[in-house]
């Protein structure tokens, strides 16, 4: 474990565990990425407003390192009350730059983005 930025430490420390929603609700979309024992595993859920235009809340579970927890906590804050259209624009670069991820931890951002994009694609 190498030294991380203050932004990563803050997000990791502030992160609180979520209870996932039951999946079979029309305003909930779920995505799971990763392979247990080989990579991080992320389960990400989005709750949408009744018009399916805005993200009301993001919840997640993750089996992964502390940076993965920090990234998902940041993403949770970032997408709250964001339109689907704007959420689609969130990129790996945003995550890496905002949290100042070191090169050996950039895969945490890649997997978080993949989980978000997969959940959004499950909307249709």
């Amino acid at each position: 474990m190498k030294a991380f930025s203050a932004a990563i430490w803050q997000a990791f420390t502030q992160a609180t565990p979520d209870d996932l929603w039951p999946e079979h609700q029309s305003n909930i979309v779920t995505a799971q990425v990763g392979e247990r024992g080989r990579t991080n595993v992320i389960v990400l859920q989005l709750m949408l407003d009744s018009a399916h235009q805005t993200i009301v809340e993001l919840r997640f579970k993750v089996e992964g390192c502390g940076v993965a927890i920090a990234v998902l906590h940041w993403l949770k804050q970032r997408v709250q009350q964001l339109s689907i259209q704007d959420a689609q624009k969130i990129s790996v670069v945003d995550i890496i730059e905002t949290l100042q991820l070191p090169p050996h931890k950039r895969h945490c951002a890649i997997m978080a983005e993949e989980a978000l994009k997969t959940a959004l694609s499950n909307l249709s």
């Binding site: 799971q32 024992g37 080989r38 089996e63 940076v67 993965a68 050996h104 931890k105």
Partner: protein, 393 residues
């Protein structure tokens, strides 16, 4: 800065203040800073005398003769000199590739050296230990070939702390007239070692694992019967031609003092540290789904290797900023790199991913262990709630 509890003694230990006091006069005027090889003036004579006293102190700790101790830069160099030196000598005289036997749980200083020799045409058998981490003499004996030159087995494992039965292994290896090398970087000064009773021909020793300075180590090389090595470093013929280079008197004096202290205090200290380790395990095992790895009966007093199911060990370490620990895996890329030691013990990847190594030492206190149990328990309970697999999924 808040107090950070140090539980990484297997990585390195602080220099004991008593050792530091002994070292300082060998660095400056008007002390004995001279070159021990300078045999033309008093500074050299005194430095040489100090080096020879330290040689006796280190030798005494392993029941060896002082003349059998060769100074090196550390246990990694000692392992290189022992393995390459013995194999090169054999290849020069027998004119055929050598075979080496070792185990999969060795330190990289041994494994990488063996891998290098494979590139030079040697063959290596890597034995898989049992689930406790031990190898039996029969397992080694079955691997012996006509051209086996050397068996290299570590005494105390740096990750799980398991101790090998060197008396039984050494007797069997000796009966086949094969050289027996032991990496004792973790065990020397902590548990008894007797090179004669264990039939050891070559023994690698570290200083910084036993409260001496970094940058100095030693290799025991048996004289009777004489073990012949090809030197790896040339330039002056120091250490009877086996390791050239100006001797760092202050480092050597420090290593000697550290070994003398370790020998004098070994029984009391190992009992005290083992009691702290047991206290730690008792506290941590109150959590559900925690697993201890390696033999619990044949082990170093200060090492405890534990998996906390459902948690990534790097996340746990981030949650424990006031503890200094090591993990058994590293998430350094998209893939997780698991510990080769735990893999060889048959530990499932998901548990290797959740391993912490606690290594306790001379300055660890009961109060610190209580704080460690409380902090780890709180973080394990918190982080398990993040896992999609914790709680029955």
């Amino acid at each position: 800065m808040s107090h950070v509890i140090y539980l990484d003694y297997a990585a390195t230990s602080p220099v004991d203040p008593r050792v530091l006091d002994v070292m300082l006069p060998y660095l400056h005027f008007p002390g004995d800073f001279g070159n021990p090889s300078s045999q033309t003036h008093l500074y050299g004579f005194r430095a040489n005398a100090a080096v020879e006293t330290a040689r006796e102190q280190v030798a005494a700790c392993i029941h060896a003769q002082a003349r059998d101790i060769v100074w090196t830069s550390g246990a990694t160099e000692s392992n290189n000199l022992a393995i390459k030196g013995a194999v090169y000598f054999s290849m020069q005289h027998n004119k055929k590739p050598a075979h080496i036997i070792t185990i999969k749980t060795e330190h990289k200083a041994v494994l990488d050296t063996c891998e290098y020799l494979e590139q030079q045409g040697c063959t290596v058998t890597y034995l898989t230990p049992d689930r406790d981490g031990r190898v039996q003499p029969s397992m080694v004996e079955q691997a012996i070939q006509d051209n086996t030159v050397l068996v290299s087995i570590m005494h105390g494992n740096n990750e799980v702390g398991v101790l090998q039965n060197l008396v039984a292994l050494g007797a069997m290896i000796k009966s086949h007239s094969i050289l027996f090398h032991v990496d004792a970087a973790q065990s020397a000064g902590k548990v008894p070692i007797d090179v004669d009773a264990m039939s050891i021909d070559l023994l690698s020793l570290a200083s910084h694992k036993i409260y001496g300075p970094k940058g100095i180590g030693a290799l025991y090389v048996r004289h009777k019967p004489r073990v012949r090595l090809v030197p790896l470093i040339h330039g002056g013929g120091h250490e009877n031609g086996m390791r050239s280079g100006t001797l760092p008197t202050h480092q050597i004096v420090g290593m000697g003092a550290a070994y003398a202290l370790a020998q004098a205090e070994m029984m009391d200290e190992s009992k005290r540290v083992a009691a702290l380790r047991d206290q730690l395990w008792l506290g941590l095992s109150a959590l559900p789904d925690v697993y201890r790895h390696g033999s619990t009966t044949h082990c170093l007093p200060g090492i405890l290797n534990v998996s906390f199911s459902g948690i990534d060990s790097e996340a746990l370490m981030m949650g424990l900023p006031h503890l200094s620990l090591s993990t058994g895996s590293a998430c350094n890329s998209a893939a997780i790199l698991p510990s080769h030691v735990l893999q060889a013990l048959g530990v499932p990847d998901r548990l290797i991913q959740s391993v912490l190594r606690f290594s306790l030492g001379r300055f660890t206190t009961e109060q610190e262990i209580e704080q460690v149990i409380a902090q780890v328990t709180q973080q394990v309970q918190r982080l398990r709630q993040f896992s999609p697999f914790w709680g029955g999924l």
